[in-house]
């Protein structure tokens, strides 16, 4: 049954016009990476700047948001989730199958393009590629779980999700240092900092959180989001609002 739900979710996710964005945004990132390489001649520092600010800072949360809302938010919005919930399938299974599809989609449309962009823009061997690959994967897992949970909880998921991912993590983090400790992006960056070792401070890949704390917090956030999403899906109020 889980495969049927997953199949339906994939069709709902990729069969719509928003799928155009899933292709356009990674292509745009690769184009930017090519331009950065042309400008910097493969300097890892420019790669880090592009990846930190654009790929991981803006594009990854955006893609996770688009995909996370795409797998379940649109169905709740137009009310067609009723037909799925009415089937004798545990809500747990429904949520897991949607989440697995979302994770797969973010891996293909966000994480892989980010690694490719790092390699195109200039890398030292494959060190940066591996480090950012792990960071992007961790961040994608947590962001997607949080955004799927948010789409079950609220209709304003796009605005709330972006307020968190961009305003909280980027803007507020710049003024209030403590805010940066409560940020999926910083937790995920801790992995890259650790993997790069002594080169991390040189290239400017720094995180404010230690690796152990970061991994624990990432796991706690992801699991917490999934538990919340399952519980809310079990008692989903089906109302329409415009």
């Amino acid at each position: 049954m889980i495969f049927v739900v997953m199949h339906l979710t994939v069709r709902g996710l990729l069969g719509r016009r928003r799928a155009v964005l899933f292709v356009l945004l990674p292509l745009l990132l690769l184009l930017m990476a090519g331009l950065v390489r042309w400008a910097s001649g493969g300097d890892p520092q420019s790669t880090v700047k592009l990846t930190n600010e654009f790929s991981v800072g803006t594009l990854l949360p955006l893609m996770c948001l688009l995909i996370g809302t795409g797998v379940i938010g649109t169905e709740i919005d137009d009310g067609s989730i009723v037909y799925l919930l009415a089937k004798p399938v545990p809500r747990r299974t429904i949520l897991w199958s949607k989440l697995i599809v979302a994770w797969g989609a973010t891996l293909v449309f966000a994480v892989l393009p980010i690694i490719a962009a790092v390699e195109i823009a200039g890398d030292e061997g494959t060190r940066l590629g591996w480090a950012y690959g792990v960071t992007a994967t961790l961040a994608a897992l947590a962001y997607t779980a949080v955004f799927v949970a948010l789409s079950v909880v609220t209709r304003n998921v796009v605005i709330i999700g972006l307020l968190y991912a961009l305003l909280w993590e980027t803007v507020l983090g710049g003024y209030v240092p403590g805010v940066r400790n409560v940020s999926i992006r910083q937790w995920a960056l801790a992995a890259a900092e650790n993997m790069l070792g002594d080169r991390a401070p040189v290239w400017g890949v720094t995180s404010d959180v230690s690796l152990t704390a970061a991994l624990v917090l990432l796991a706690a956030t992801t699991i917490g989001a999934i538990v919340l999403a399952v519980r809310r899906l079990q008692t989903l109020p089906l109302t329409t609002r415009d």
Binding site: R18, V36, A39, T74, V158, I159, L166, L167
Partner: protein, 328 residues
């Protein structure tokens, strides 16, 4: 036989069988015939007519405009719809308030942020506000197929577009102008020279007016093509954010490769950079994020004409879009 209500068929058959005298009473026994239909009525079922004054096209447009402005702020909508706009407005008003309070407590002698730099620094929140408002304005009418009902009134298709565009632009301008005014209040509280501050404030008001027009146009175009709920918000915010990020990277690349002229024209691709460039060249204020803009009247001409062209193109696309709009 005579007690039975005559139906048209039997009346006709009776009329054909019997002389005309028996057919006439049968017809008069039925319900009173409605008044003879006039030329502009398709099917008159006898209801009382409206004889009052009709306000006409201008009033329809005005009502639509007022409804749009109210709806953007969640007035006349359920409580859940009021949360998001007001949270965003609160976030937009926090920086001016904080600046004013800090000034009151510490007695500083300059604003932390200039009037024209304010929109650029709140770029994300302003984008979120317009992304949340634009689909409310146009997507629902298209999605639920009520456009024919609007168009059956004495209102043209372009009137609908202009009313929605005007409503959204006015709402955005009101929010941003309020923030600018709070900045002015802060400046006056710390007893900065009133004349200079008023001039700066007027420049800020002009800036946010242009910004409101450009952003409303772009957001409405995207919203008019994305009918599904939630998709419009995501599409608008994705577009604005990605354009802003890409333009920043392109500027850095152009500077690296030694094309400062290209780098100075590139901000025009981002609505916020475009408006900031106009403000810098027109009012002679400091740019936000220390962006370099093309020098002299040529820069102003290019940026200004681009702004006019953007708004014009958005309106043209919208009017064209609504030429074909009908039922679902």
């Amino acid at each position: 036989m005579s007690s039975v209500e005559p139906v048209p068929g039997t009346a006709a058959s009776a009329a054909s069988a019997a002389p005309a005298a028996s057919a006439v009473p049968a017809a008069s026994a039925g319900p009173a015939q409605p008044a003879a239909p006039t030329g502009d009525v398709i099917h008159d079922i006898g209801f009382r007519h409206y004889d009052g004054q009709r306000f006409g096209r201008g009033w329809v447009v005005r009502s639509l405009l007022v409804e749009t402005v109210r709806g953007v702020f969640g007035l006349g909508r359920p409580a859940k719809s009021k949360v998001m706009p007001w949270v965003l407005i609160a976030i937009l008003l926090i920086p001016p308030l904080v600046i004013a309070v800090v000034i009151l407590l510490t007695g500083g002698n300059e604003l932390g942020i200039s009037y024209t730099q304010y929109p650029g620094s709140m770029e994300l929140v302003i984008s979120l506000f317009v992304a949340g408002a634009a689909p409310y304005c146009v997507s629902r009418d298209l999605r639920h197929g009520v456009m024919p009902l609007y168009l059956s009134r004495p209102m043209r298709r372009s009137d609908y577009v202009l009313a929605k565009f005007g409503g959204l632009a006015i709402s955005m301008f009101a929010v941003l102008a309020l923030a600018e005014t709070l900045l002015l209040v802060g400046a006056l509280l710390m007893k900065l020279p009133v004349g200079a501050q008023l001039v700066g404030w007027a420049g800020g008001i002009l800036t946010v007016a242009i910004l409101a027009l450009i952003l409303s146009g772009i957001a409405l175009v995207i919203a008019a093509f994305t009918l599904r709920r939630g998709v419009g918000v995501a599409a608008i915010i994705t577009g604005l954010l990605v354009v802003s990020g890409v333009v920043q990277i392109l500027i850095a690349i152009a500077k690296d490769k030694g094309y400062p002229t290209v780098a100075s024209y590139l901000p025009a691709l981002n609505p916020y950079g475009l408006v900031d460039g106009i403000a810098v060249r027109l009012l002679g204020v400091e740019p936000s994020n220390s962006t370099a803009y093309p020098a002299g009247p040529l820069g102003l001409l290019v940026f200004g004409s681009l702004a006019v062209a953007t708004v014009g193109a958005c309106l043209a696309i919208l009017i064209r879009r609504y030429q074909k709009v009908g039922g679902v």
